[in-house]
Symmetry: C3
Subunit: 142 residues, 3 copies
């Protein structure tokens, strides 16, 4: 386990509006506000979703489209740096009209119906995502 | 995306007791403590659940009753104001005896078996929920 | 509902490495750092999982093994004291290769593929887990 001890920064509470792309909305907001390190939580509903599950053997993502409306029961993620730019990493748990739950890594293409979020900034040394050979992922170098 | 920049307030850690209605417990606590703006997280187990999924076309909630015990794997939500009163909005992810996950918007009728929560108050301008014609929901006016 | 009003402590952001046991990693870290009270959130992926669902009548856990890789879409939990030692309580929501969600109480045997977490320490009176006859669980005495 690797970690850093950080200090609290700004705290934002707000909502993403109907029709916005969830991942783009968070990334754009963070870049405009220069939030270089933060955690994100949220709840809401999506018009449609695009999520992915990582194939740990093939080291590639399998993308899944959910072309129906869902409740967003848990949105958790973070903001840090990748290739020198502010980068947003989100995982979503979604439920369909029958209440059944689905989820995965959030891709472009998750269109918001309504979404309430909190972003809590952390202050300290920058966190940089770097290619990790063992997993094939871009992990924090620490 | 709309947001406000807020300051940290009080931080509460506690548990909801067996037999309490989850939504009523949080609403009652927040009103007694005058927590006007906050985020909520929690984990636990429910004796039975009543959740809903929003029908985005019909602009109405479809309620689903789960008359069996579940693990509450993710409780996320917030406290803000609606019609001048402190109002609690929660989404739950639940798993049944087979480990399968369900979830949605938390309604009255979620009876707690055990529940550990954190409430983190935020200080700043009040957040008021107002009717939003486009979605049919009561969204934060900001 | 029972609660205590607490003050913020240290804030840790980090990652659990591939091959680590999730519950052991958090417990070991918390004990080394002497984090006596905190909340935990995280997202990631597991190589395999061992979770349990509590049987509220029999007052015992039914353990379920997921011997395939999953996305960890929501990890929520806390650190407090049990039998005088720092104790970690976690609930996980996981999704399989089809995007279907599962979850429950986290047991030993959840092997991490990648995991990004935040631990937020809380300062105040210790929280002690004590046997609760009514539920059969070890709940915070408060």
């Amino acid at each position: 386990m690797k970690h850093r001890d950080l200090l609290p920064g700004r705290q934002f509470l707000g909502r993403v509006e109907k029709g916005e792309d969830m991942l783009e909305a968070f990334t754009g907001f963070a870049r405009r506000q220069q939030i270089r390190l933060a955690t994100i939580t949220g709840i809401g509903a999506l018009q449609k979703a695009r999520i992915s599950m990582y194939d740990q053997e093939k080291k590639s993502y399998n993308v899944m489209e959910i072309n129906e409306e869902t409740e967003l029961t848990a949105l958790l993620g973070n903001l840090s740096l990748k290739d020198g730019e502010i980068f947003c990493h989100l995982h979503a748990t979604l439920t369909d009209a029958d209440g059944k739950a689905w989820g995965g890594h959030v891709c472009d293409g998750c269109i918001v119906f309504a979404l309430e979020f909190e972003i809590r900034e952390l202050m300290g040394e920058d966190f940089h995502r770097m290619p990790d050979e063992d997993t094939g992922l871009a992990l924090w170098e620490m």
